[in-house]
């Protein structure tokens, strides 16, 4: 049976930069939408960082790794939005698009004359998406923050950390991806509403609000207890044992969480801790906590003699919740990850082959289009100008020559 992607025939004009915005449209691209990434004529925003150390490689701008990861399954056109010709060209794209998305700070779109009110005149049912760090309005609306900064302002850093330690954060760009996925969800909901009512809208999803939403229970907890939640490290407020244990080898660990009496007994039996198993008082978690060090030492003594994958299988065979603390190499060679075809490996003409996370869901019927690389800078400009916007050869040449739509990043000095 032939299948369809969920977003067939949906076109998105994408002005987003860095990570959170591109992640949102990356998902929508993998779900079948045509993503027209409108790039800055002077190169890739996130690329400025890498370009800093450009060693003279040709077309280094096409090799910006983070760009290539978060912009898979998109098309690229470069447009100078600061000039009138560029603005008009962008509006022409908007007139044939369903969605416009941007993650500039709140003032930028208005300053460019491309605010929702302006774009709505071009396409009355357009869905416009803004994804500011802290909100389009309010005393902090003009503050700049990247993902990790919203972890800090939203309380996630405060509840993350080792026991009695300082505030911490989840590895790299958690808040960016988290908000990107919320945005993709919100966009699809707005599209559904447009199917029902014919109306577009201005959708605002705030990065920090997405962060606060995935720790929502802490805000109620604070009100119940009148004090700050403690940083628990790898402990659980109720279950014990709960945490990670060292295994054979360097920096090798297993995560275990014991949540029932049955699991406790299975664990004791597996590690040969008959003294613990026979002590009926230890059926109670609170009693176990009294001798926590002894219990943890006994588990570690057993796990240290074994490879963490072996420990995982031995424990899971006994119905114990256990899993390795996976490293990149573990995931890249894991039989489960492979059988589920989770990872997305693609080939880029300039950047070569690279592997990235795939989609976090699988459909039984609908299809997706993984396996599509990120576009090269301005790769689709000529095609989009001639096919989508029906420009003649002469007009296209002049747009390119003027630098409105450069085919390579250009240096430009404004006076």
């Amino acid at each position: 049976m032939s299948t369809s992607t969920p977003l067939t025939n949906i076109r998105i004009a994408d002005l987003t930069n860095v990570i959170a915005g591109p992640v949102a449209t990356r998902v929508l691209g993998h779900l079948g939408a045509e993503i027209i990434k409108v790039e800055l004529p002077w190169g890739r925003a996130i690329g400025n960082i890498a370009m800093h150390g450009d060693n003279g490689d040709s077309r280094a701008y096409n090799k910006v790794k983070t760009f290539n990861e978060v912009n898979r399954a998109k098309k690229s056109i470069a447009i100078d939005l600061t000039h009138e010709t560029g603005k008009n060209l962008f509006k022409e794209i908007v007139s044939v698009s369903d969605i416009v998305i941007q993650n500039y700070s709140p003032r930028v779109m208005g300053n460019l004359g491309l605010a929702y009110e302006n774009l709505r005149k071009v396409k009355p049912d357009i869905i416009m998406v803004s994804m500011p760090a802290l909100g389009l309005e309010g005393p902090w609306s003009n503050y700049i923050s990247f993902g990790p900064g919203t972890d800090a302002l939203g309380g996630l850093s405060s509840v993350t950390g080792y026991k009695n330690g300082r505030p911490h954060k989840p590895g790299n760009f958690y808040a960016d991806h988290n908000s990107g996925f919320h945005v993709a969800t919100g966009i699809m909901a707005s599209l559904f509403r447009k199917y029902q009512t014919g109306e577009g809208q201005h959708l605002e999803i705030v990065l920090r609000e997405a962060t606060m939403s995935v720790i929502g229970e802490y805000f109620i907890e604070y009100q119940f207890r009148g004090k700050e939640p403690e940083r628990l490290g790898n402990d659980h407020p109720v279950f014990f044992p709960h945490g990670i244990f060292a295994c054979k080898g360097s920096d090798s660990w297993i995560a275990i969480s014991i949540e029932s009496e049955k699991e406790w007994h299975s664990l004791c039996e597996l590690i040969g801790a008959t003294d613990l198993k026979n002590d009926s008082s230890l059926v109670k978690v609170d009693s176990r906590r009294l001798i926590s060090q002894k219990i943890e030492a006994q588990i570690t003594k057993w796990t240290m003699q074994r490879d963490n994958k072996q420990v995982m299988h031995l424990m899971q065979n006994q119905g114990i919740r256990a899993g390795i603390v996976a490293k990149a190499s573990d995931l890249l060679s894991d039989e489960h990850v492979a059988e589920r075809e989770y990872l997305d490996t693609v080939e880029h003409p300039d950047a070569g082959t690279y592997t990235s996370p795939g989609l976090p869901f699988k459909f039984s019927r609908a299809s997706t289009n993984l396996g599509v690389t990120a576009p090269m800078f301005s790769e689709h400009s000529l095609h989009l100008l001639s096919e989508l916007l029906a420009k003649d050869t002469e007009t296209i040449k002049s747009l390119v020559d003027l630098g409105t739509t450069p085919l390579e990043p250009i240096d430009r000095v404004y006076t």
Binding site: L153, F192, W253, A326, T355, P357
Partner: protein, 405 residues
């Protein structure tokens, strides 16, 4: 109360899941306007009701903090879907629903003869969203999971924490939240597919994959591919950056706590200007920022020492430098930006009393977020069973006695 300005007005969701992942999935659908009916186990309810903390620290199925947060505005009916005698009632509910969200172990729904084949035979438009720790198929699909196990197996844990300490789990239940978020995202995609094809879908979401999907794959996979060795956790800094990579991005101490300091590509000289320290805008440092990370930290700490978090944030933001405060839960609850946006609103719950709840990142300008409390267990039994399904009230009380409702 229906609100036609919300995106999912008219969509009906049957939530037979337990705990955080399904709870967050259907919270999102509810916030977007869907009617969510939680189908809970008679007497004890969703297992989330047993998770603390509770009001006054007294365990009570009506005052669990996570339950109250995740289920605001949903309806609750009781039905033991695993009991064969509940089958007809459950299938009648399926007939009138658009979406079912479940998080039993893979295969369990088929074992109780309520697999996707059975449900879709009754309602071909139905979208069944299955949330699990490891997915519906694959060698680990029958593994036992939990939030920390998924956090570990996703790869995230190895890269969270300090280099000289054991790997660290993020606060809260991030694997289960990401599972719920991926569930909601996929349900929306399936609703749009259905609008094209008229057919539903069975969705397979793995909490472990959902969390891996929030990876910076460049630092995680591509570094390994290139160097042949695994990237290492780096405290609060970004991991696995080239010597020329941007810096800072980390948490540093100041006069009264911690701040998040971050480099801005559009304002490279900003940090030097803010601190008045030329070394922080020096070409030599700027060209190889990551290599100079320790020095940058030291110089910044020297400046930060003289300022409170609030001063740091205000002074930095005035000159377009993205430094932000590390706020406690209490501070986040009451900061001026959240107040201005009414992100937290009071809701009165008949047993838990009045409290301030996070609203939702999905708040439309055209429609207010519906500030309603989480349901009391079985609160909507009469409405759903008698008024909507038009079941005989005597039949209902018979089922109640049998522990089915």
């Amino acid at each position: 109360m229906a609100n036609s300005d919300l995106a999912l007005t008219g969509i009906k969701v049957l939530d037979i899941s337990r705990g955080f992942s399904g709870g967050y999935c259907t919270k999102i659908l509810r916030d977007l306007g869907a009617e969510v009916i939680k189908v809970e186990i008679p007497n004890s309810g969703d297992t989330c009701r047993t998770f603390g903390p509770f009001l006054n620290d007294i365990p009570d199925i009506e005052t669990s903090a996570p339950y109250l947060y995740l289920n605001a505005g949903k309806k609750s009916i009781t039905l033991d879907v695993t009991n064969p005698q509940a089958r007809d009632t459950f299938l009648a509910l399926c007939k009138g629903s658009d979406i079912i969200v479940e998080n039993f172990k893979p295969g369990f729904m088929s074992q109780i003869n309520l697999g996707y084949d059975v449900i879709s035979a009754i309602n071909s438009k139905i979208i069944l969203c299955s949330l699990t720790y490891f997915g519906q198929f694959g060698p680990y699909s029958q593994f036992e999971g939990s939030d920390i196990v998924s956090y570990a197996m996703s790869g995230y844990m190895h890269l969270t924490g300090d280099e000289d300490k054991e790997p660290l789990k993020a606060g809260g239940r991030q694997a289960e939240y990401q599972c719920g978020l991926a569930g909601a995202m996929s349900v929306l995609a399936a609703i749009l597919t259905r609008a094209l094809t008229g057919l539903g879908d069975h969705i397979d979401v793995s909490a472990t994959e959902a969390l891996t999907s929030t990876f910076d794959g460049v630092a995680y996979f591509q570094t390994y591919d290139q160097t042949g060795s695994n990237p290492m956790r780096a405290g609060t800094r970004l991991i696995a950056r080239e010597p020329t990579g941007a810096y800072p991005s980390t948490l540093l101490p100041c006069k009264d706590g911690w701040v998040h300091v971050h480099y801005s590509p559009s304002n490279p000289e900003g940090i030097g200007f803010l601190t008045g320290n030329d070394r922080l805008a020096d070409d030599d440092v700027m060209a190889r920022m990551r290599e100079h990370a320790d020095e940058i930290d030291e110089l910044l700490i020297e400046w930060l020492r003289g300022h409170t978090r609030e001063e740091v944030q205000t002074l930095a933001q005035e000159v377009r430098v993205p430094f932000t405060m590390v706020q406690s839960v209490e501070e986040t609850l009451s900061d001026e930006q959240n107040q201005h946006r009414n992100f937290f609103v009071p809701i009165e719950h008949e047993i838990a009393g009045q409290m301030t709840y996070p609203t939702s990142p999905f708040r439309l300008k055209t429609a207010e977020w519906q500030a309603l409390p989480a349901p009391i267990l079985g609160q909507n039994n009469h409405e759903i069973y008698v008024e909507q399904l038009q079941l005989d009230p005597e039949e209902i009380s018979r089922m109640k006695k049998g522990g089915i409702v």
